[in-house]
Symmetry: C2
Subunit: 186 residues, 2 copies
DNA sequence: GAAGTTAGTAGACGCTTGTTTACTCGTCAA
DNA sequence: TTGACGAGTAAACAAGCGTCTACTAACTTC
């Protein structure tokens, strides 16, 4: 009756990492238990700490696994507001965006990972974004734009996909583009 | 050695409520323990549930205690962006703003109080704000503005009072005013 | 002054958490 | 075939959580 489990260190490690990425993004750091990760990965709970050391270190590795702010930051500066607006508008409907952002929004109140999240937000969002901006106060303008991104995520988390009940997708994008222009423009 | 504790039902109730308000605003719902509230209020832990029923109901009463979005929403519509900008700019430096907002930002990932927070954000922020807006899509525009407010709170929580390292207070207010105008304007 | 009400207290309850230990057993080199 | 290595497992660990019960003692009422 009991299945013969295959021995696959790298495979198991990857299953745990994937399960943790999904759960952390969906629920936030301290709503996710080690047992939930183990169940989602179909692995024994003791293997998590064997391969990653601790829950905290697993979370750090999940964040480190993710790339930079996906694609949005490439391209000329004058198109940045539009791309950010489309990114946010898409995120408002389907919740399948950056894990860094999702984890940030849902985990920023857990003090034990505060430093991990802060460093990751800096290196993945704020620094590349402000590096793309010309003019004075680039860091501040990038922070305001980042606040808008995280804030829409929070509202989306509170109210679900229909958070901002706007009739038309294009209206949403146009409005958000104007807002990001006000954030980022000189 | 043991002090004779005076019997003061209403006073004790108020001490617990005040302590809970401070701690929830500072740390968020599930970082605050019943024992921490009892210690901060200098009261016995069993009295919390005697007077409020449960931690969840205490949190709800803390939110209900708070008034509406403080003062910002009064006055003519065309001055709204400026007042919101000044409110946010002040909040970015000293963290003594609305408890509703602070608790929201730090507690929105706790599913057991999700509904409480959502209802409170609707009645205290979104509804009065969108009621002040003329033109189409008032609810959506109010949501975007609310996202900016909560997002700056999140960034502030991550990076502390020096989150947005802007040289001048007036620069910050001017920038935020423009952003809120883009959010709220027709 | 006696009796009753009730604010306040101490401590335990059951449960969940992250973490660790002791063990089983599949795999592969000698 | 035998031995060692190590992936995988089950169970327990201590600590912390929200909640609840049994009790003490201060106040009110008659």
């Amino acid at each position: 009756m009991d299945e013969t489990r295959q021995r696959d260190r790298e495979g198991t490690r990857r299953r745990i990492l994937d399960a943790a990425r999904r759960l952390f993004a969906d629920l936030g750091y301290d709503q996710v238990t080690m047992r939930a990760i183990a169940a989602e990965a179909d692995a024994n709970i003791a293997l998590i700490n064997r391969y990653f050391g601790s829950k905290r270190e697993l979370f750090a590795e999940v964040l480190a696994m993710q790339g930079r702010f996906p694609g949005v930051l490439e391209g000329p500066e004058e198109e940045l507001p539009r791309r950010l607006a489309e990114y946010v508008a898409d995120r408002l409907r389907s919740d399948q965006g950056s894990v860094v952002l999702a984890a940030l929004i849902r985990s920023s109140s857990s003090p034990e990972i505060h430093e991990i999240i802060r460093d990751r937000v800096s290196s993945a969002i704020l620094e590349p974004l402000s590096a793309r901006l010309s003019g004075p106060d680039a860091a501040f303008r990038a922070t305001v734009a980042a606040a808008l991104v995280t804030g829409t995520g929070t509202m989306r988390q509170l109210y679900g996909p229909d958070a901002a009940a706007a009739p038309d997708h294009e209206v949403v994008v146009a409005r958000l583009t104007a807002v990001f222009e006000a954030c980022l423009g000189m």
